[in-house]
């Protein structure tokens, strides 16, 4: 279980889905906050749904309000990077670049990519947390301090 979990985590990192920030979050996890990381991620996916909707609506407008989009994306980037969603963050940065350049097509394309990454990560993390919960208590004990 532990090994599986560790392996999965490693692959997520290797594939670039997560970055160092995720480890920071895990470090914050302790007896007082046993499921901290999971809580954060859950909160993120819940909170960002609204944001994604806003962006989608804004992308449907014509012409595009780039400054507004940039604002949304700034926020999105902030949340995503706060728990280490690396690929999502990258797409956010790309999106903002297109916004600054006024490239509507680029924005829309990037956003599609972003949504894909966003969904993929969500699934992977769900699996991860499930595994973590199962392996949970034991994992704590085994974790090298």
């Amino acid at each position: 279980m532990q090994k599986q979990l560790a392996k999965m985590k490693q692959s997520l990192f290797d594939q670039g889905y997560l970055d160092e920030q995720f480890i920071q979050l895990e470090d914050l996890q302790d007896d007082a906050n046993p499921n901290f990381v999971e809580e954060v991620v859950t909160l993120y996916y819940r909170d960002s749904v609204r944001l994604v909707q806003n962006i989608e609506q804004a992308l449907e407008k014509n012409p595009l309000d780039f400054s507004k989009l940039e604002g949304y994306m700034h926020q999105f980037k902030g949340s995503s990077s706060s728990f280490g969603a690396k690929k999502v963050k990258t797409e956010c940065t790309q999106f903002r670049e297109y916004c600054r350049a006024g490239n509507a097509e680029g924005c829309k394309r990037t956003f599609q990519e972003l949504k894909k990454e966003y969904a993929t990560l969500k699934k992977k993390l769900e699996v991860y947390f499930q595994l973590a919960r199962q392996a949970g208590p034991v994992e704590k004990a085994c974790r090298p301090k």
Partner: protein, 627 residues
């Protein structure tokens, strides 16, 4: 906070930084949660909120409740920088900015707004582990300031008496000619002093910043009591129920207010463009951002928008009680002649130095300029009715006084002469005074501002883009005039100045000012008065900005909350400055006024003498004002 809690905190404090109380503000819930957890991990006591308003309320409720504030830059309900300014201004707490954006421009903005640190998201635990250093640092510099203040106070008492809230700073700066230092010190002092009043018995009282809210309370109290009879400082103070405010503060403010009101009726006759006023205020509002930049303005001649915005603040700091005395005097002068009153009244409206100095207010909305352009002479009525105007004018004048006093003291009597004009003419003087001062005053520009203010007292309020031009023009004029003046007689100078000013006004947008031959004071005087006023205001602004370094940021911050308050403070300073100038002029003979009070008295005396002439002038003047 219960006693128990306090005790716990104290205990924690022994282990500082353990238990340091942090207020975290971020609209992003994920980031907020993360921040909160991380801070807890660092063993700080965390309070987290996603709304800046809530955070502000918490801070205002109890200033001692937190040691440090961490805030995000992008927030929907309030700009992070604004929050930063307010916290620094009102509570003087260290603030750390947070942002996902690490654009150098934003970092610079954060620093210039007073942030102790700027962190880029995602924040790491290690970074948060060291933030307590900012609290220590702030405390250390705070105590140092206190020491300086007490030292200054002692010095001040000896030298200038109750000229201004931070005379020591001014004197020191003046002596050293270190504007930067002055500004910083003033700023520090203002921040430290805030609205606190030390022992009323001591001469050096911390400046009271008459923010819009405070002034509103004051006005409410006055109205409640009955302006005519019952509104005595003691009762007003009781009604206002504001901590840290002394009877003296209220008294001086009341004086200014009375003068302001006197001018109003006169101006009421004139068409006061409300738009201008509004825009002026708007402008002030826009100054908020510039507040921090004020620091960079160090010197004279550095009139930038930010400077402007900051100047009101600095003015505020300075303008407190000491200046108010002066203002009072000056204001009463007009009573000699109705014209004088109107002139003075006009002064106020003009105030919004901020509006006046386009150069200063680069950031101000263009609409403001547009409306102002018309060289509409702002009648006192409109201006005055505006609280902010009042505040601004008083502040400005005090500033002027303050600044001028610094400059004037060193300057020759010439300056004085120019000012004298003002009182006697009831306002025409300003122009001339401008000329006199430029060199001596912090810089030409500041001087110009002062000069403008003088004009301003004439009651002409030139709000608009032209002001900018005028400012520039007047500066030029002033410079030219000064030269002339230095050589020539006062009377001539006055006329000359006036002419110049009028020229400037006439061609607001032209920078060429032709200096007409020295005419009789009266006729050119009138024209110039109008113009001068505008110029004066501008100059005032410039003056304020340039001269009053330090102490600016604090008051300004408060004001920023309301664009109006910014204006108010500026107006006040210009008013004060104006008054000061008047006083100087009143002397006609070079005198070194150690205190503004003397100046004021001198000015007033002069005014009496010259009143008759000016009446005529004023008539013309006022006529011409209506554009």
């Amino acid at each position: 906070m219960t006693v128990g809690e306090i005790r716990v905190d104290k205990e924690n404090y022994d282990n500082f930084p353990v238990g340091m109380r942090v207020l975290a503000v971020d609209d992003d819930l994920i980031c907020l949660k993360l921040l909160e957890t991380m801070l807890s991990k660092c063993q700080y006591q965390v309070t987290a909120t996603s709304e800046a308003r809530v955070a502000l309320n918490m801070l205002r409720e109890n200033k001692d409740r937190f040691d440090l504030v961490i805030s995000d830059v992008h927030m929907p309900d309030m700009d992070g920088f604004k929050l930063l300014e307010l916290v620094g201004l009102e509570m003087d707490l260290p603030v750390i900015m947070l942002s996902a954006n690490n654009d150098a421009k934003l970092v610079m903005k954060g620093v210039s707004h007073g942030a102790c640190d700027y962190l880029v998201k995602p924040v790491r635990l290690e970074e948060l582990g060291n933030i307590w250093q900012h609290v220590i640092r702030k405390k250390k510099s705070g105590s140092r300031k206190q020491n300086n203040q007490s030292v200054d106070k002692g010095k001040d008492n000896q030298t200038s008496g109750e000229v201004n809230g931070s005379p020591s700073t001014v004197n020191r700066d003046h002596q050293n000619g270190k504007c930067n230092r002055k500004r910083k010190e003033d700023e520090d002092e203002s921040e430290d002093n805030g609205n606190d009043s030390d022992d009323p018995a001591t001469q050096k009282k911390p400046r009271v910043v008459w923010s819009v809210e405070l002034h509103r309370k004051f006005v409410a109290a006055v109205n409640q009591l009955g302006y005519e009879k019952e509104a005595v400082p003691k009762k007003i103070l009781d009604l206002m129920n504001v901590g840290g405010l002394t009877r003296e503060n209220v008294a001086s403010h009341l004086q200014k207010y009375r003068l302001y009101l006197k001018k109003l009726p006169q101006q009421a006759n004139m068409a006061a463009p409300l738009g201008v006023r509004d825009t002026a205020f708007m402008r002030l509002g826009s100054l908020d951002g510039g507040l921090r930049d004020y620091r960079t303005l160090a010197g004279l001649g550095r009139l930038r928008n930010t400077a402007l915005s900051s100047s009101p603040y600095t003015m505020l700091g300075r303008l407190n009680s000491p200046t108010s005395n002066i203002n009072l005097h000056n204001i009463t002068q007009p009573s000699h002649t109705p014209h004088q009153n109107s002139a003075l009244a006009r002064m106020h409206p003009v105030l919004s130095p901020s509006s006046q100095n386009p150069s200063l207010f680069q950031g101000t909305p263009s609409s403001f300029d547009a409306s102002i352009n018309d060289s509409r002479i702002f009648t006192g009525a409109n201006a005055f009715t505006d609280t902010s105007n009042f505040l601004n004018s008083t502040q400005q004048s005090s500033m002027m006084l303050h600044g001028n006093s610094v400059g004037f003291r060193n300057q020759s009597s010439q300056n004085m002469a120019s000012f004298n004009q003002e009182p006697s003419n009831g306002g025409s003087i300003i122009g001339s005074s401008n000329l006199m001062e430029p060199n001596s005053l912090l810089s030409t520009e500041p001087f110009m501002n002062c000069a403008r203010e003088n004009n301003w007292t004439n009651g002409h309020y030139l709000v608009n883009n032209s002001i900018e031009n005028m400012a520039l023009v007047s500066l030029e004029d002033a410079r030219g005039n000064v030269n002339e003046r230095l050589g020539g007689e006062r009377g001539q100078n006055y006329g000359h100045t006036l002419n110049n000013n009028s020229n400037m006004l006439g061609s607001m947008n032209t920078t060429t000012t032709h200096v007409p031959a020295n005419n009789g004071i009266v006729s050119p005087f009138n024209r110039s008065l109008d113009q001068n006023i505008g110029i004066l205001n501008q100059k005032m602004d410039m003056f304020l900005n340039g001269g009053l370094t330090g102490g600016g940021s604090t008051p300004m911050q408060q004001i920023n909350d309301n664009g109006n308050s910014v204006i108010e403070s500026r107006a006040r300073t210009s008013e004060n400055l104006f008054l000061e100038q008047h006083k100087l002029q009143g002397g006609f003979a070079p005198q070194s006024y150690d205190s503004l009070d003397d100046l004021v008295n001198a000015v007033f005396k002069r005014g009496d003498e010259t009143t008759p002439n000016f009446d005529c002038g004023l008539d013309e003047f006022s006529f011409g004002q209506d554009l």
